[in-house]
Each structure stands twice: as C-alpha cells, then as structure tokens.
C-alpha cells in the first residue's frame, strides 16, 4: 500500500467482525420493515401473475399492441430489465478484470440484481407472443415435422440464444461467488436445518489452498467470458431493432448505444437498491461506503453523457443520411405526437445526472436516490421512444397509428417490479449480501499494514 487511500471497509473490522456483520441479516429474525416490504412486493407479484394469466388466456390484444405498433409494453419493459441486468455482471466481471478492489462489497448484490432482472426480463419475450404455449418452437430441437428447424437469420432467435446463455452464465458466476460464503454460513449454523441447507448450497466447499487456486482461476475465466458476453447480449438485443428495416430502428449506432444505456440504467438501479440496503441493514454501511456510491454515481454521469451523445449523433446521422423516411422518424420523435416521451427521456437521462458534477450531490444519499429513480424512468422511456415512436409512423402514411395503451399495459409494467422486488428481498434475507470471502482480503486496504491488527 504505497499510495494513501480511504479505506474500503470502515470501522476497523476484524475477520470475525466481517463474518458476523455480513451473516447477521441471514441469521437474525427479519425486521418489520423487511416483512412489510416483502408482503407489498408479494401482493404486487400475485397481481402481476393475474395480469399475465389473462393476457395469455384471453389474448395479447388486451395490451395496447395493434397495427402498426405490433410491439409495445412487453418488449419495452423486456429491454428495460435486460438493460438493468447488465450492471451486475459488469461490476463483478469488468471491474474484477481491472482489479478494482472497491467492487468487492457491491458486486454480490449487483450480481443478484442482474440475475433477478434477467429472470424478470426473460418472461416478456416468452409471453408477448400470440401463442406462448408454442414458444418452445424457437429452440432448434429435432422433431417430426421433417424435421423443420428454426430460422437462424432472425434476430429473435439470436435473442433466444443470447439471453438464455447470459442468464445461465451470470447465474453460474453469481453462484460460484456464493459457494465459500455458504460454507461460512453452514459452519456458523446453530440448527440442523440451516446446516444441511447451506451445507448443500456450499457443495461441501473447504477452502484449501489448492481449491482456492482453481477457484480464483475459474473466477477469472468466468469474468473474462462474461465481459464479452454482457456486451454481446445487449448488442444482440439491439439487433432486434437494428437488423430490421424500419426507419429509427435500422441504425448502426444501436449496439454501443444500447450497451451504454444498459450500464447506465444498471448502475442507476444498483444505486437505488444500495441506498435502500444501507438504510435497511445498518451494518452494511461500513462495507458499502459513500465512496462506493460516489464511484457509481460518477459512472452514471459518464454513461449518461454517452447516451446523450448517442441521442445527438442519431439525429445527425438521420439528417446526414438524406433518407427522407429516416429524417421524418427523428423529427417525429422529438416533435410528433409522442414528443413528450422523447423530452421526458432526454431530461431524465441527460440533464438530471449532470447534478453529479458536484461532489456534494454525488455523496448525498437522498439526491443520488432521487436521481437514480429518474434515470430508471428515463431509460424506460428511451426504450418506449425507440420501440413505439419508430413503429407508429413508418413508410406508408396510410398505415400510421397510435399505441392503444390499456390498463393491462400499466399492470404488466408495474407488476414486473413486484416480481423483481420479491426475489430481491428474499435474496437479502437468505444470502450473504456482501461477499465475505472477497471482502476479507481487502480489509486492510487503506489502513497502515500494522494498523489493522
């Protein structure tokens, strides 16, 4: 430790303290606040299930989708959640590769968020089809129809592969990270049930030096694989749009633009959740420190400006292309009937994050909470703008139309949060929310070598 830097973990913790602090929420009886939140989320989830059931049972027409806007809330919200599902892997994978030690205390929760976000997102492409019970036809499995395979040229099929791969790998990555901590919890377990349960989860892990060396290697490999993967996923999601020939979708800038947006929204969501976690579980404040939050806020501001740049360049290219359809779409975006959503997006994503230029703001919990919420809203609208406003006025003016928003759309959008929060709250309760094994090595960071002990 040549250079002097502020500690990553506050409060002069010993190894034991770390284990105690982090395992506490898992071991003690849930607080009233948690129970309250959980019940709320669960109710929302049930409502969500009801909505989806009726959509599947009665017809996708219950949503506002129509001609020409054949894709609506479900796809918009899908991209929204998938986007959120990026920060986790990025934090843990990319920052790991860059040897960013500060990542350790947020990585776990970020990854959890990723997994849950991807689960939430994954439902939409499955359920937005006209006949969801036939979705399995999207997989190239041998069959009695000739066999009739699938169309590998379709971006939707790329999606199937990308999203499922991403879901699998990020879940594995997350789980591998959890294994040693499960072992910890198992060993601390007072009663038989916990012991067997976490014992099973820990796969019988014993931290021998040999195991650790393999473990670290695999963790490195997974990080290395996840990084291109996480980039590819949102790239491919963006292909859903970019590969089509619809003005406003058919754009080369989409992949980087989507990825930037994903990181942006992802970090915003992490900040939202982390502020809440800090409030809910006081002991974490020493592990998820203001410094952590500040770093993330910086990233939010940066990516926010990246996204802003994308907005601008889109307009420039549209004008520069000289393609009348392309030009029209973008003028229509900003000044057409859906102009309000466009300006909503710009305000939330580009203007508001500028607050973070000021250290005060960056380090103020309330401010960053509000800002992150705005960013989330803004990013939902970004997807809305891309999907709906491009579709609603395309080539032949005769077929122009508006999206027929129904209260089912609202239900789907709101309900999806029910699903996400339920999962997330359960996670906070049952899993160590900060990586014990990863925090311990960095305990001394920022303290004088001896000072620690």
């Amino acid at each position: 430790m040549m250079m002097k830097r502020s500690p990553l973990v506050l409060g002069n913790k010993t190894l034991k303290d770390v284990s105690d602090d982090i395992c506490a929420p898992v071991e003690r009886f849930p607080s009233k606040g948690w129970v309250g939140l959980f019940l709320g989320a669960k109710t929302l989830l049930l409502f969500y299930i009801a909505i989806l059931a009726s959509v599947v049972g009665i017809g996708i027409g219950l949503l506002g989708v129509n001609s020409p806007v054949f894709w609506g809330t479900m796809i918009v919200t899908f991209v929204f959640w998938i986007g959120i599902g990026h920060a986790g892997t990025l934090i843990s994978a990319v920052l790991f590769l860059f040897r960013q030690k500060w990542r350790t205390s947020v990585a776990r929760t970020a990854e959890a968020m990723t997994v849950f976000a991807v689960m939430t997102a994954g439902l939409f492409p499955l359920l937005h089809t006209g006949r969801p019970w036939l979705d399995y036809w999207l997989f190239p499995y041998p069959n009695q129809r000739g066999p009739l395979w699938v169309n590998f040229r379709s971006p939707l099929l790329w999606d199937v592969f990308a999203v499922s791969t991403y879901a699998t790998v990020s879940m594995v990555f997350w789980y591998i990270g959890l294994v040693p901590d499960f072992a910890t919890i198992k060993d601390r377990a007072k009663n038989k049930l916990r012991r067997t349960l976490y014992g099973a989860l820990s796969l019988g892990w014993r931290g021998t030096a040999r195991n650790w060396s393999h473990y670290e290697m695999v963790y490195l490999i997974l990080a290395g694989l996840s990084t291109p993967l996480v980039l590819s996923v949102h790239t491919i999601v963006s292909f859903d749009f970019a590969v089509s020939n619809l003005p406003g979708w058919h754009t080369t800038i989409f992949p980087p633009y989507f990825v930037a947006g994903a990181i942006f929204s992802g970090f915003a969501m992490v900040v939202t959740l982390m502020t809440l976690v800090r409030i809910g579980f006081k002991e974490f404040q020493n592990y998820v420190t203001l410094d952590h939050m500040e770093v993330m806020n910086k990233i939010i501001m940066t990516t926010g400006m990246l996204v802003g740049y994308a907005y601008a360049s889109e307009f420039f290219i549209a004008w520069y292309s000289g393609n009348q359809y392309e030009r029209f779409v973008f003028v229509n975006r900003a000044f057409g009937p859906y102009g309000w959503s466009y300006w909503m997006m710009v305000t939330c994503n580009v203007l508001i994050p500028q607050l973070f230029w000021f250290k005060k703001m960056r380090r103020s919990i309330p401010v960053m909470f509000v800002v992150s919420i705005f960013v989330n809203i803004g990013m939902w609208f970004e997807r809305f703008v891309i999907t709906v406003t491009s579709l609603h006025r395309d080539f032949l003016p005769s077929s122009w139309g508006m999206y027929a928003w129904s209260w089912f759309d609202t239900g789907v959008l709101v309900g999806s949060f029910g699903m996400f929060l339920t999962l997330f709250l359960l996670y906070l309760r049952l899993f160590p929310a900060v990586s014990i094994a990863e925090v311990k090595p960095v305990l001394h960071v920022g303290y004088d070598e001896k000072g620690g002990h």
């Binding site: 499995y141 041998p142 069959n143 009695q144 129809r145 000739g146 066999p147 009739l148």
Partner: protein, 179 residues
Amino acid sequence: MHRGFRRTAAGAIAFLGALMVSTLLMGCKFQPGFGYNKGYAPEQPIPFDHSLHVGTHKIQCQYCHNQVERTKHANIPALSTCMNCHLQVATDKPSIQKLREAYDNGGSIEWVRVHMLPDFVHFNHNAHIAKGVNCQTCHGPIETMKKVEQFSDLSMGWCVNCHRQPENKAPLNCSTCHY
C-alpha cells in the same frame, strides 16, 4: 501437457460428439410416433371388409371412391353405390339389411373417420393420383385389411420425406399444404 487436461478435453469432445450425432439421428431418421394416430382402426357401424371387396373381388378403388380422381377429397361412396351390387348380392347378411334399410328410408350410415389431418393442412388426392401414386403407398395394403386402419402416421415429416425425394419432383412449399 497435463493429464487432467487431456482427460477432460477428450471427455468433452466425446460427449459433445455423441450429443450431436444422437440429435441428428433422432431428428432425421428415427421419429417416434407419439401423438399420432398410426394404427388407428375404429369399429365401423357396418364391418365393411376391404380385403373381400378389393382383395377377393378385385373391385377398383375408384369404383366406390369415384370422385377421388377429380378432387382433393376421396369421397365415401353414396349408399346408392353400395346398392348397385347389394340389391342382389348378400342380401341376407344382417349388415347388408341394415344398409338396405338406411337406403330405403333415405337415411345414411355414420362411418367413423379413420384418417384425420391437423387443421390448416390440405391434402389433395387428385394431385397424388395424377402423379401415379398408388393408394397403397399411403393407405397401406388396404386390399388385405378386414378393418381399415391408419397405415402411415400422417406426420408432417412423413409427407415431407416423400416430397423431398428428387425422383418425385414434388413441391416442398409450405403453401402446398398449408393455406
């Protein structure tokens, strides 16, 4: 090179190879028939015996299924067609009397349908017969069947794999059957 490494590598390749091969075999050659009505041979109101009519008496299929050459449907013969012979032949048999009865008071016989295609699938008998496909190719040794049974599984794969053969020069378009 490391032993463990070599072992795993070999294992992985072997496993994946096996996976692919079995997949392709499953998909393309061996097709389990579950969900299909192959062998379906329901009881008919009148135990009409193809082996007798076609096998023994050598009656042409088109004598009874007289429209099959003109149209997509292989029609079930009208009662009048049966009576052409059965006014004289085997008039003592109870089933024939049943037939006679139905015919006289203008009624009909409710045959149980044997060959059923899924919805949105159109099969055109006329086209196949014009191409010189034998009835038996799809309906099996009908001349030996005492009771008609579904000979082929009538799955899409079954259709396609015949249409595929270059010598058949048959169209492979979706809209050949689906519209």
